[in-house]
């Protein structure tokens, strides 16, 4: 007779309720991650899964890991993911055309096989000792117990991990560094470019807005000595957007009275 029920201890009712509420939600969020088109939605669903995993850690007497999960994963790692998504462009949605024919069907079949194998393995496993739980290991507090393990038995691994962190930071700096191929335009370069133009009309620079008008805001064209508005004195964007204000409105009233 095959013993399918894994006999490794039972949990109290509140934890069971928490599990049966959060576990299906996180599985649905995981499936949603695969289905949704936009990468940002995937990131938000992953953040949800990570928060529910943090709750599971805390429910399983791993208080320190639960807090670290929230701070490091949902706080730092997911923010990094969103940051890169914003940098690369949020609007880039994934194309769902298959580049290898039948890849999706094969992947899903393989996943069902793999998942089935894993779950049946867990289902058929037996554990020969009684479940002790973490009450004795956590008697001095979870963080203290973890620190005792980390700084005695695993201290070498801890040091190696610190070296890994420094290497990763250096690697990221080297990868993200870009060599500049030309120096940025300085005022001197711009001045030289103005004098090398076909005619020297703008050699002294374009007129600034509102010089001869009463009003000197950027949306008011300057008045030329002839009394006409100078179109080059304001930004072409403002003109195209229709935000240009007539400079004749700001002419001195006295002049009109004299006439």
């Amino acid at each position: 007779m095959i013993n399918f029920a894994l006999d490794i201890g039972k949990t109290a009712a509140p934890e069971a309720a928490l599990f049966y509420f959060l576990a299906p939600l996180s599985v649905f969020a995981g499936i949603g991650m695969l289905i949704v088109k936009k990468a940002v939605h995937s990131a938000l669903l992953l953040a949800w899964i990570m928060v529910s995993l943090a709750i599971f850690y805390i429910a399983q007497d791993a208080l320190f890991l639960g807090i670290v999960q929230i701070v490091v994963y949902t706080g730092a790692v997911m923010m990094l993911f969103l940051f890169i998504l914003m940098l690369v462009g949020v609007d880039t949605s994934d194309s769902f055309t298959e580049t290898i024919r039948g890849l999706r069907a094969i992947a899903i079949t393989a996943a069902i096989g793999f998942g089935g194998l894993l779950t049946t393995l867990i289902g058929r496993a037996t554990f020969n000792r009684p479940i002790t739980g973490l009450t004795s290991a956590n008697s001095e507090g979870n963080a203290n117990g973890l620190a005792k393990e980390l700084f005695t038995q695993y201290v070498f691994a801890f040091e190696v991990v610190s070296a890994l962190l420094i290497t990763a930071a250096l690697g990221a700096m080297v990868l993200a560094h870009s060599q500049k191929t030309r120096s940025p335009f300085a005022q001197r370069d711009l001045s030289i470019a103005r004098f090398r133009k076909d005619n020297l009309k703008d050699a002294a620079g374009l007129p600034s807005s509102g010089v001869y008008a009463l009003h000197n805001a950027v949306d008011v064209p300057a008045l030329l000595p002839t009394g006409k508005a100078a179109p080059t004195s304001i930004s072409a964007v403002l003109e195209a957007r229709g935000d240009m204000i007539e400079s004749s409105k700001f002419q001195l009233q006295q002049e009109e009275e004299e006439k």
């Binding site: 992953l46 899964i49 994934d94 695993y154 962190l165």
Partner: protein, 99 residues
């Protein structure tokens, strides 16, 4: 509820992450699916720590988190570098070695 249910959840999340790595084309989503797989493994470690009654599983989960953080930093830097030169984060576009 049996404690093994956490292990089942871990197995399911790991499988979902593995499928995502294979079927999604966006490099960032592929990366997030790898994170999901690492997290699922962490859940299994924490559950085994509870089953065994000592904190060694939690220590391993802690180290996994550190390594995952390093991996995210370097991986995202690689994605940004690829995006800078190819203007795309699709894993199909980065096939220069093939041709």
């Amino acid at each position: 509820m049996a404690i093994a249910n956490y292990l089942y959840l871990s197995a399911i999340l790991f499988t979902i992450g593995a499928v995502g790595v294979v079927i999604r084309r966006n490099a960032i989503v592929v990366f997030m699916c790898i994170e999901l797989m690492l997290n699922a493994a962490n859940l299994a470690f924490v559950t085994f720590a509870r089953i065994n009654g000592n904190l060694q599983g939690q220590v391993v989960a802690f180290f996994t988190m550190v390594v995952a953080a390093c991996e995210v930093v370097v991986g995202l830097a690689i994605i940004v570098t690829i995006y800078r030169s190819r203007r795309s984060v699709s894993v199909d576009d980065a096939s220069l070695l093939k041709r």
